[in-house]
Amino acid sequence: MTTFENKSSKELRAGMGDGLVEVGKRNSDVVALSADVFGSVKMDAFKKAYPDRCVQCGIAEANMIGIAAGLSLCGKIPFVGGFAEFVTGRVYDQIRQVLAYSNKNVKICGSHAGISLGEDGATHQTMEDIALMKALPNMTVLVPCDYNQARQATIAAADYVGPMYIRLGRSKMPNFTPEDEPFVIGKAQHLIEGSDVSIFACGHLVWEALEAAKALEAEGIHAEVINIHTIKPLDTEAIIASARKTGAVVTCEEHLFNGGLGDSVAQTLALNCPTPMEYVAVNDKFGESGTPDEMLTNYGLRSKNIVEKVYAVLKRKC
């Protein structure tokens, strides 16, 4: 079984920030906007390197989305940085009208996403952002799994034309994908080959899925782990092929059941190859304050929860 090593825990938002500096060097049309959180979303290095290509919007996210749309008209490639909740849910209608419907080349970088944000509590812990963004026609939705992949996703985003949402967490998390592996938008990443069950994961939960697969292997269960780093467009071919091979599916994400990766996978399975499936996600409730570790553990988003769901789905396997 392929194994993965956590080289050192790092923040995904920092991967985006470092990737942004790289694309900024390469392409002078790349610009950055933030609503008083350049530092918090790790765009400060870009701001230091390219002050003339930054727009400090103040605490006014709705205006920021419109400004980004206007800049894109002039051939700029705006990267909009903010807390995930405030650059998705707060400005959903703005994104809908001037980015998605108007099909503008703007990249929304939502940091502090998910319950692992921790102490800030539920007001800031969005677990609905994937649902909101993937619902919009024209929108591409990326959920990288670690620092290296967040950096590569940012590089790929700059070369891709169209509105995009990149979901990023705040906390330090295991960094295990190869540093130089290009991010291929829309192409699922096969991490572990297996034959008994397919585990489709995204974001921080990919590491948990790998840990779960290790534990299952020790019990003689061969789990396939696939990183669905692009929620939209979804690599349905990879999902269908894996589900047909294993006959059982578990999805894992730091998001609500409603509208997340699980729903995208469930829709794909229902339409193509109905397969028993279980969700590892948060079911219809808000988070609360606590450490990132406490959040993931108490809300059932750990490798042991994935293992439990694997056993549950194996019982349902035909």
């Binding site: 103040g58 006014a60 709705a62 205006n63 400004i67 008209l73 108007s102």
Partner: protein
């Protein structure tokens, strides 16, 4: 460039288009369209440095216009067609299935001349600011114009953008307010008073130009020329364009009744009787 009299004649034709388009579609927003007809005509033919022949999506070296209150598509489309962005005959497709002339402006149907969707109110000034900053970044000296309904100023996002443009000195932006005092549920005073708009904009570090009668073509031309002269001086410019909703048809004026309601087929001839046919001809 057209003479004032020529512009007035075009405006009359545009008003004929507006009432005929909305009655044919059995829906749409004739009131605000009629009120802004003189301004839109002046903009398309004389004020803006832009033309159908030179139109590009990126607006490089062309003035750009964003109509933030997207519901006034009748006047937007009519003035665009009369300016030559597309065939006048296409106005007959307004709001019909598979048309390029969507109920609210769209870029999804490839209509030349439209750069951004609008309709959900309060967003066009932000877009205009972005385009204005983009122009500055690429050293493009042309201007960005936006148009807003006065009721639209009740949207919070407007004040985010007003604050931004003033604080950051976005001085290649001219925003015009269609100041007709009417909105769907009543007068702006009844719904939510706008207060002293001039003082409000000035306190946000904007330069204010007042056009006392926005339905007088000469006043519109003079006022917009003044606004242009005030750009490039460190402050954004706002034009308070006093208009009358429904202007040009006496029984449609002075009321908000026709904000989003159209004339019946029976009433249409009564309106057209007040808008004499022109050399440009109906669509």
């Amino acid at each position: 460039m057209k003479s004032t009299q020529e512009l007035q004649t075009i405006a009359t034709q545009v008003r004929r288009d507006i009432v005929r388009m909305t009655t044919a579609a059995k829906s749409g927003h004739p009131g605000g369209s009629l009120g802004t007809t003189d301004w839109m005509t002046a903009m398309q033919f004389n004020i803006m440095q832009a033309s159908p022949e030179t139109f590009t999506m990126d607006g490089n070296n062309q003035d750009m216009l964003f109509v933030s209150q997207g519901h006034i598509t009748p006047v937007i489309y009519s003035t665009m067609a009369r300016r030559g962005y597309f065939e006048v005959s296409e106005l007959a497709t307004f709001r019909k299935f598979a048309t390029r002339l969507q109920g609210h402006p769209s870029v999804a149907h490839n209509l030349p001349g439209i750069r951004m969707a609008s309709g959900s109110l309060g967003q066009g000034m932000s877009v205009g600011i972005g385009a204005a900053l983009g122009k500055k970044m690429r050293n493009d000296k042309t201007l960005v114009y936006t148009l807003h309904g006065d009721g639209e100023l009740q949207e919070g996002q407007i004040w985010e953008s007003v604050m931004f443009a003033g604080a950051k000195g976005v001085d290649n932006l001219i925003s015009t307010i269609d100041y007709n005092g009417q909105q769907i549920d009543g007068t702006t005073d009844q719904v939510m008073s706008l207060g002293d708009l001039k003082a409000k904009f000035e306190s946000f570090m904007w330069t204010v130009v007042d056009i006392a009668n926005g339905n007088d073509m000469q006043q519109v031309l003079d006022g917009m020329a003044e606004a242009k002269n005030l750009t490039g001086k460190g402050h954004p410019v706002v034009v308070l364009l006093h208009t009358e909703m429904g202007y040009g048809v006496d029984f449609m004026q002075g009321t908000n009744k026709y904000h989003g309601a159209v004339l019946s087929a029976d009433d249409l001839p009564r309106a057209l009787a007040q808008l004499p046919e022109t050399e440009y001809g109906d669509f």
